[in-house]
Symmetry: C2
Subunit: 128 residues, 2 copies
């Protein structure tokens, strides 16, 4: 199957698939006589794996590791688990930060009239 087809099936667009190949996230595709990339079921499988990992917020660097582990039948499940646990911690940290932002902003917005008057507690707070 050509790259366009693989893109449709995996949900990663053709441009990005080429890019992933170029930075070594996925193995180099074999080429047809005309130089077109050709994808097998397995290849598409890997692409879907990448897509799903991205949806779970793994960085491309992490995904590169995950794909490596996935393709290596002898890896230890602890390697994968520690990667996942570290990732969970990072996300939870980010959530806390964002929640703090929301709290502050909501407070500011509540105290702002939001009318035609030029005075605005939001700006005044940002100022200080």
């Amino acid at each position: 199957m050509n790259i366009g087809q693989a893109a449709k099936v995996s949900g990663i667009n053709a441009k990005l698939i080429r890019h992933y190949e170029s930075i070594g996230i996925i193995p180099r595709a074999i080429r047809s006589e005309a130089g077109y990339r050709t994808y097998s079921e397995t290849d598409v499988h890997i692409l879907s794996f990448v897509k799903r990992s991205r949806n779970l917020g793994f960085s491309m660097k992490e995904i590169k590791k995950l794909v490596g582990l996935w393709r290596n039948k002898n890896r230890a499940s602890s390697d994968v688990k520690s990667l996942a646990v570290k990732h969970i911690e990072e996300i939870e940290m980010k959530v806390l930060e964002l929640q703090a932002m929301v709290k502050t902003l909501k407070h500011l917005a509540k105290t702002c009239h939001g009318d035609h008057r030029p005075d605005c507690p939001i700006l005044e707070n940002l100022e200080s």
Copy 2:
């Protein structure tokens, strides 16, 4: 005051201050005879404003608007408020997404032995 001093006071490093100037986030600094950027109290005030806005997660595009509104004494507070409210909604959306990721990942990690065995539910799930 020179850029290094302004950087210390505002908490934005010199490199970044120059960059902010170059992309129009802050007004162009006046120069000394030797070409050094010179900052007044007001200038540092603006820099601190930018810093604080960044900490609250506003994008540089939004901050550009905020700085504009802040420097305009006749702006309506509703303009600021709607910007803030939109921003709050965006952050809350992101929080929900991240929480969903954490939920899925925690479930996967819980079902993974995390030992030397090669089988790993995390990878198996990513696969499908």
